[in-house]
Symmetry: C2
Subunit: 787 residues, 2 copies
Amino acid sequence: METATKPLTEAELQAIDAYWRAANYLTVGQIYLLDNPLLRQPLQPSDIKPRLLGHWGTSPGLNLIYAHLNRAIVAHDLDMIYVTGPGHGGPALVANTWLEGTYSELYPSVSLDEAGMAQLFRQFSFPGGIPSHVAPEVPGSIHEGGELGYSLSHAYGAAFDNPDLIVACVVGDGEAETGPLAGSWLANTFLSPVRDGAVLPILHLNGYKIANPTVLARIPEDDLLAMMRGYGYEPYVVAGDDPVEVHQRLAAVLEQSLAEITEIQRAARATGAHARPRWPMIILRTPKGWTGPREVDGLQVEDTWRSHQVPLGKVRTDPEQLAELERWLRSYRPEELFDATGAPVAELRDLPPTGERRMSANPHANGGVLRRDLVLPDFRDYGVGVTRHGGGLAEATRVLGEWVRDVIRANPDRFRLFGPDEVASNRLGAAFEVTDRAFTASIEETDEHLATHGRVVEVLSEHLCQGLLEGYLLTGRHGLFTSYEAFIHIVDSMFNQHAKWLKVTNHIPWRAPIASLTYLLSSHVWRQDHNGFSHQDPGFIDHVINKKAEVVRVYLPPDANTLLSVMDHCLRSRQYVNVVVAGKNEQPTWLDMDTAVRHCQRGLGIWEWASSDDGGQPDVVLACAGDVPTMETLAAVDLLRQHLPQLKVRVVNVVNLMRLQPESEHPHGLPDAQFDTVFTTDRPIIFAFHGYPWLIHRLTYRRTNHDNLHVRGYKEEGTTTTPFDMVMLNDLDRFHLVIDVIDRVPGLGPAAAGLRQAMVDARHECREYTRRHGEDHPRVRDWVWPS
Amino acid sequence: METATKPLTEAELQAIDAYWRAANYLTVGQIYLLDNPLLRQPLQPSDIKPRLLGHWGTSPGLNLIYAHLNRAIVAHDLDMIYVTGPGHGGPALVANTWLEGTYSELYPSVSLDEAGMAQLFRQFSFPGGIPSHVAPEVPGSIHEGGELGYSLSHAYGAAFDNPDLIVACVVGDGEAETGPLAGSWLANTFLSPVRDGAVLPILHLNGYKIANPTVLARIPEDDLLAMMRGYGYEPYVVAGDDPVEVHQRLAAVLEQSLAEITEIQRAARATGAHARPRWPMIILRTPKGWTGPREVDGLQVEDTWRSHQVPLGKVRTDPEQLAELERWLRSYRPEELFDATGAPVAELRDLPPTGERRMSANPHANGGVLRRDLVLPDFRDYGVGVTRHGGGLAEATRVLGEWVRDVIRANPDRFRLFGPDEVASNRLGAAFEVTDRAFTASIEETDEHLATHGRVVEVLSEHLCQGLLEGYLLTGRHGLFTSYEAFIHIVDSMFNQHAKWLKVTNHIPWRAPIASLTYLLSSHVWRQDHNGFSHQDPGFIDHVINKKAEVVRVYLPPDANTLLSVMDHCLRSRQYVNVVVAGKNEQPTWLDMDTAVRHCQRGLGIWEWASSDDGGQPDVVLACAGDVPTMETLAAVDLLRQHLPQLKVRVVNVVNLMRLQPESEHPHGLPDAQFDTVFTTDRPIIFAFHGYPWLIHRLTYRRTNHDNLHVRGYKEEGTTTTPFDMVMLNDLDRFHLVIDVIDRVPGLGPAAAGLRQAMVDARHECREYTRRHGEDHPRVRDWVWPS
């Protein structure tokens, strides 16, 4: 079934074409013009920017789609946002937001008149102005599109739990070559037509990247259609280079697609049948750089890669090019588009929707304004009873799971859990007592906790998990991403982009704060019992703290109660990326809930109950961060107390890694005086760290006592072996920590020499035992902190 | 056209089934047994490993495929390797390599008899033994499969320039959900049927991941077939759970696929027509954990996610499970499979190929043995003439491009350039004088430098570029990956896995060294004129140096001649990952070729010609690393020499970042005494660095003079602006460096105070000029080092 081949009346056609021409005009103006925005005088070299920076090629397509969506929004009163995969087409989106009036509302100096237009042009890609991409500064954007690959996952994340929203998502054919994008088409397997909104993918085949044709534009069209059907979509093709024909065809296809979306949702919602429908999608095959210069210097530019950035590069110095630019600009007939004041003529102002129906003013695209804080059950009620330090064992993430379950229950419309098939494996399975995994492909009888309307999204793609969660957060909701520690590096670059987005939005007054993106990294480096070396990498923390201190937080809770406290804090926070590393295996429970809360509030502190310095100066500081290093440190302290009872030991535990940095570097940084009080100014510090040891040096190199700091951590040694063998391979084990103490504290006498040798022997004995029996020596396996 | 439905004779069927049973038996044995490998006595708890670690679910499928490929290799004398996407099925591959005899040849203690079988079982996932995955220790592996997503790109990379090779690539349906894998199917767009070998993808739909069904197993089969046709393949389905039927069908489909590959290659090679054919691929839909326990504790295990790891988890303590394990093992009828000595019976030994036809002994899977060093033209002949320091300008990568062109020309069978659509943009376009971009989809008249047989692989997927290059290197060839600096983070985790592979292979005697993986990161953080903040991230270096020092190298050549020298060194190296950061924009040429070579050999050194300490002790050291920081440093020195002529300045340039580390940390580390000589023990050091400043602190915190080190670098500030505004935003500019000197050198007197204010004013003036004119102030744009 397809609708009329010419759905637009002549008037509608004229209006939409005028709107498109206006947006194209404003796009070209931004790339080139310093002044003379309405060409009231013939163009002069002095009207031209000295540096021509920006991307024309994708822009006419983006403008075309925007104009048509605007018509449809008005015709059907749609709640719609626009995700711009080819985000380098920034001037196109800026042009549309100005035409809609939103830009001037948010940036009054860029008014809807000739002066404003001049400012609009001048500021683009100009020092002190605005970036060239669909960056956070652009109204209506939730997706900068600087790094390609994430448009579709952002779009699906935005559509979750927004049943009335349609997310139009333009996917560039360059972006379509990326792995993350290729892996996102099947996100429709997690979208419920009952509870969620719709995504309308628009694959823009303009045929070229920076310097090459694109793959999808050059495979047989039958293959491309088969691929889209294979992904579960019904593809509609719009192809051509005649504007009139393309307008009619695009309008027809859009009407068809919207009708199908309406019908899919109506039918599903009437029957409650969530199963995956065949959603429509659009393939738009129009020339790259359409309506721009056909040829430059004898070489074809329109409809080739040569139109990717700035088609005419020598406008300021070459009079012919200057004339060509003027012809190009005048080809849009600006005199018909803008009135004497420079404002868009009434016909243009009538086409787009108004108020919050404008895609540039839709509150979903400024999600912070829709954000409602989570209802959080009191995490203290979920704690593990701890009557003596280290007296019990708990799987921290399993304890957390019960709280997460009730977070899900208490927030059925705005909280989701994302993970690559690891929610159960990371022992958050309690979530499945109140919800299921979302899955709209076929479900079989033997499946467990799988349902079309589940609130847990599990797909074996860290990229997709991250993209969906970002889309969900950016539109004002909340979530948690749980993953293997090593493989979270898969989304290093997506984290980069999100952190940059947060940093920039912190300085844009009209952008309301969104919920933080929180990672729970379990299945960490020290417990890869099944998998070994390829699964061992604690370096995501190192990566994260390269980003602006104002947007990143890293926590290493040592046990179950501290994990609860930290996670409660994270889910209340805004505008951060929180990284929480916590094991899923049984570990001693060190702190009762009240102590845990106070410890987490301080971020780091002396554990007096484990120390033997009686509040005075210690001989040595044993510091630790992370669950496994904390246990090894306390086991080392136990050994020291037994065998060197006169040694004054201080135990410091670090939960909030940012506390180690100077105040000047991070808002959480501990003042130097306090740091010196805790770590002393001159005693040896043996620091047992969860990750790569140099990270601790990097955070502390300006501290007074840094020269006495000695860090043990993961030094890239490991295989499929036992937990204790893993810490031994990296010299992080209790015996080695004791050796480190003996080697660094002067004047310990002959008892220490004997103990040192005993430690060397113990390491040997443990290694031999493990190689013989395949499990850890009982003396380490069964160790408990003495009461 | 399809061949016989029952291609196997009864004898062949029996043989292949026996081989499959043997491999399954050996797989289960590895997961469970410490002893009693042939079940000569009833199983006892003491025969069972204390920790049951490994993955059964995928293994029977991997074994089935291996057996059938072996039959086909013998039948057609094929040159074939096996890429195991589900690399967690390590015991399956180990089992097959033992059956083939290769394992015992390489590891004589694991002999082909009962004692060897016992050792084979015991060592698996056991302390001191072997990892659980298809790690480098496994003969025939080029792909560990620990992190999922890269099997198909490795396979295609292996097939490039190996016309007689067939790469069988098993893709798990879990892995198929990842973005990188989804983006790899279309790698067939870069494979020439004339010059390259073939890839035979085998999508193993066993239906489940760790805890969930897989997406591809649950979408309609018509959709899956359409998807594969859309990707350009001809899919053949093998489905079932009756071994006899599946054997016949798989054999038939394999014969069909191999016949099609032969015909495709014959036809293409007869006519020289390289265009993309429709390659066959196989969809194998068999139960997860096939032939394992059907039910455990009343829950279905076979054909569900519950068979993913260890189906019977309590064998050691639960007599019923122990009996069930024994029934399971005996169901393979080991008495028919192994003779009295424990060796495979003759029937089994006859099935697989022999010598290098064994997939486990194929030299392509130990690429170092096939590696032939590159023929490298003398890079000195390509240098830029430098008659005085800083007297000229050059685009370093453009200069390099001419040498790369001739490297391509001199090595037409074993060198390729990979990049995400950026070879021309990164100014290596000279390559296109001798070759083209590979592209086997349709080519149009207007396309440039695009050909089915090109040696440059450009696809807008860093994942695919990296995976293809890794596959190419691992099979004994050479290459270079050029990319935007910021977006190389996209492959952070792929780099991790490759670095881990290199580290492990360094300690496996039979693995021959392979060529290094070299990145050329151009379009770097300081010159994102078109793109701005989202394209600015110099942190890949930080990420890289977390890996073992023995396998990573980082270079920051400051100009064209040093880039040539560094790159020559990199392309000669083996078993490293080399990261080279060098700009593509015009920069001063500082060193003539002889000086450049000496400077690069030293890795860092004093630039006497720029210094004013006359070989004595300086008042201040100005150090720099990277092209832009070097220019700013020299401009600062110029200012200091003009305005504070009495100040003794020493200029140190760092090319090889690893030189900054202590000798104990990195083999390239400069001895402390030399470091102290260069950097002094007590003078202020102002270090202008290309990347995040704390990296320099991390590398140098143990050095004597670290307390006096002050680093400027990228501090995550940027937008779309001019080059000089970028350095100013990050306080890396010449004026700020002068201020840093003045603030840190005591006793400079009133002239310095005046200069300091002049520098503050200059920054202000430059910023204002840029905001007014949109380009940098002539005083910085036109600056040249004084002759």
